[in-house]
Symmetry: C2
Subunit: 531 residues, 2 copies
């Protein structure tokens, strides 16, 4: 059964080949048409109908193959319902759309960390830094930090392109933050600041993927950025399944099995993606497990792509986040032993600053010549946005004991994290109360990924509408309650099982409403389709 | 002679094919090696030397082919010299590096527009908006504008991901700004906000290019983002030459000739890139010329990719910027007649806010199904940074007569633009004074692209060092004077001619020093190599 996804990856490749074969005759005929078109004649041409230069069957088939469920069909429907509610509040049996589809905390009312925003505002408008009114509006340490940051930026010019990897002084701060986190040295020259983590992931895929014969080992379920990026770059997604029965455990035996299956099909597997804490699955890896993964990558010659954007989001006392860099260094593996890229973002954590598009990757264990190529690709886009760069330095170096802002900062941080932990637990319990639903523990990240047994009749009803059964469930839930979830089929799942991803982000006072609406809907849905 | 670049594009394709053939045996042997590797043994493996999973001959050859001269070898050398000056100020015969290589105004001391920065700061830290001290620090209309913008953002959450195309209210403002500029309607749903213009260009190349058989008509000389993006996406650059003799004129007869040459080689040409005002060439197209270009694209079924990021940078009274959208609508061509993408950025203009990474593309004349695909690709990266989005709305809707900031705003704007015009003229005159150098008029943009006749001996000296002669000239200039230029070979030029690009951005008080250093160097360089 687990062959399904590899099968579908192969289908994807074949379909894309068929597409290109299919397009060639089309293209050459259109080419002949174009070549024989008469010379320009403005008077006649404005009335003639243009054959559009771009049609669905003449665009890059990799774009067509790419899918991104987090902003897919369900979200488009949600936006439509929201517009209808604006013009006609009684149009639907709910007052508002509750977006539980995406890790976007501020959109659901989470407030920014004051210190971070103070520093950003001051760096945006440094002209006010030495005005007396500023002392009354901003904390003393935010003013001091803004000065420090401005002094790190050549010419204090926050409006200038920076070094292609980001402002050197900010990378120094980030490297120091990584050292403090891990207890192992970090080199600012290994840091590439990026507009969120997504462009960093694309850069690595662009570097590693030469053709559909190159494969990337990805967890299933996975955050669909990975499948989308692999599709856009024309590679093959090599799936490995997380084991739902052991709390979405990551077994090295499964990695080995899937690696060998892929190799037997002629795929050169180039990298392993690990998302820790997990998205959409919310598990936090144990250190021993991480060691085995590092060993596997080293033995098999794979780049380890470590998505560590949820490093601050751990909700259970028995688990702790360990970076893969720390784990590999603690095993005695250095720069020459393992190729490792760690992704971090300002969009997650307790800060959740998605709109700022800040992030970085730490690139270790690559030769100087390959590093130069990564630098070159970064330089084509000049640099990431400076506010995002500043914020990335702030999240890796927040106020410290003794700073004026420390108490308010840590109260804000702890308030958010403890509330997220409570929300995760409440939702997890609520899901487990539902008939036919089982939900693993939310150890970390911002999501729950419950499994749902759907009645045969519901599956048939979905099939009749040419929808995945979990997509059908989510669509019915949305139109009945305004709650937006992402169907498990958008992340991948063991064939024949159904899931959905639900964020833990609605504000705490709204959680009871989410639970009761979801519970009521679930009951009536099961009643409707009960055999 | 003009076949050179098409020839080199073909070589590029062939080399990349050879590369992949070259890699296959390597890969399969490394694959065999990996498959037969023994099971993990932590004790032995830390001492064994790893075969790195990624080497220069196993990365994506498209990445290797990509070049971006604006941040190439000369800039790397400049950064090295700058570091040496920091530790040892007398290390070189100059006190500072003068970066004339890149359109990065704030890095050379240009100050931001106060109103824009006020609004950005207030949107970053809205908590201060209703504090009394804020009235003393910020203009009344910046406070009002910040409120307006916050009201356009759902939940006033500047820290949330927006709609994948950007905040709807900001797109409304931009569309209104386009309408005011052009006198023709603009649809906010056609706007895609992006992190600067570069990601927008990449998105279009990704959409249009399926293989090396797809070509994009690009000006030569061109801004190397285009050649880099075409290389990264595996397409063919189809060059058309701007005519230096007529002030870098764009002749439709040349477009036709190159289109037909490309088609005769089996290339499907999909789009035409026009940069207006020109980069690196600084010319501003006449409206009649633009009409002929529109007509050409319509007749030949090409997407018109209009790089209009320098739309505010016009320095001569006899020329005016006209957007290609305005020109095509004024010809009676609507949505169904021409596929047109216009790129705009907050990095250029009088604002020059490169570090903010704001920009947009206006996408018109594509079918709904293709538009959906563009939306999908945009959604994989979630959204562009919100500060950049806000700034893009501000540059398209600056303060108006009667607003408190209007006078100071227009004084700042006019001061920058008139100073740029003076600097352009001074540098243009200075270049034309140099022996063997001719420089066209700087009508617009931020660059001059003078042609330089190099002595035969200098060309030989360059060849001995395996350098392009213009690159050799620029390197010698840098080490002698600290002035950083980009050699013409980075942009493309008629073979056998040599150029360099020089920005007009050094602050006005530094221009005399640039001129005298450059003049002295040029004389001694010619003397050294005189026949």
């Amino acid at each position: 059964m687990r062959r399904f996804v590899i099968g579908s990856a192969r289908n994807l490749i074949q379909r894309s080949r068929q597409n290109s074969q299919f397009q060639r005759p089309l293209l050459s005929s259109s080419y002949r048409l174009l070549s024989s078109s008469p010379p320009a004649d403005p008077s006649s041409s404005s009335s003639s109908t243009m054959t559009p230069p771009v049609a669905l069957n003449t665009i890059n088939p990799k774009v067509i193959e790419c899918e991104y469920a987090v902003r897919g069909e369900i979200v488009t429907l949600a936006q439509k319902l929201q517009e209808e509610l604006t013009t006609k509040p009684e149009a639907h049996p709910f007052e508002e759309i509750l977006y539980c589809n995406i890790g976007n905390p501020h959109s659901l009312g989470q407030q920014p960390i004051t210190f971070f925003r103070e520093v950003l505002a001051l760096c945006d408008h440094p002209a006010i830094l030495d005005k007396s009114e500023t002392q009354g509006l901003f904390s003393a340490d935010s003013i001091e930090r803004a000065w420090q940051i401005l002094d790190q930026i050549p010419g204090r010019a926050t409006g200038a392109y920076s070094h292609s990897q980001g402002v050197k002084g900010l990378r120094d701060t980030i490297a120091a933050g990584i050292e403090a986190r891990d207890g192992f040295s970090a080199d600012p020259n290994d840091i590439f600041l990026t507009d969120g983590a997504s462009p960093a992931v694309h850069m690595m895929m662009q570097l590693l993927i030469r053709s559909e014969k190159d494969g990337i080992l990805c967890p299933i379920p996975q955050y669909p950025l990975y499948s989308a990026s692999i599709a856009l770059h024309g590679g093959s997604l090599v799936p490995y399944y997380l084991d739902e029965a052991t709390g979405w455990g990551l077994e090295v035996s499964e990695l080995k099995k899937q690696l060998e299956t892929a190799r037997s099909k002629g795929i050169t597997v180039r990298a392993l993606v690990v998302i820790n804490p997990g998205n959409p699955t919310g598990q936090v890896l144990a250190e021993e497990n991480q060691k085995a993964i590092v060993e596997f990558c080293k033995q098999e010659g794979l780049v380890l792509l470590a998505d560590e954007v949820y490093q601050e989001n751990v909700y259970v006392p028995e688990k702790k986040f360990h970076s893969f860099k720390k784990v590999s260094r603690s095993m005695g593996y250095g720069e020459k032993d393992i190729s490792l890229v760690s992704f971090q973002s300002v969009s997650k954590g307790y800060y959740g600053e998605c709109g700022k598009r800040g992030g970085y990757m730490e690139v270790t264990g690559f030769g100087a010549d390959v590093r130069e190529q990564i630098y070159k690709v970064a330089s084509v886009n000049l640099c990431s946005n400076i506010s995002g760069q500043i914020l990335a330095s702030l999240v890796m170096s927040p106020p410290k004991v003794g700073d004026e802002s420390y108490e308010s900062y840590s109260a804000e941080r702890d308030g958010i994290l403890s509330s997220l932990a409570r929300r995760a637990k409440t939702l997890e319990d609520a899901f487990n109360e539902l008939e036919g639903v089982t939900c693993n523990k939310a150890e970390g990240a911002m999501y729950l990924f419950p499994r749902i047994d759907l009645p045969e009749k519901a599956i048939k009803a979905a099939e009749a509408l040419k929808k995945a059964p979990d997509a059908y469930y989510c669509q019915r839930l949305l139109t009945a309650t305004g709650i937006v979830l992402v169907p498990g089929s958008g992340f991948g799942q063991v064939p024949g099982t159904w899931h959905f991803r639900c964020t833990i982000l609605p504000q705490e006072e709204k959680i009871p409403a989410v639970v009761s609406r979801l519970t009521d809907f679930h009951k009536s849905f099961l009643d409707e389709f009960r055999g």
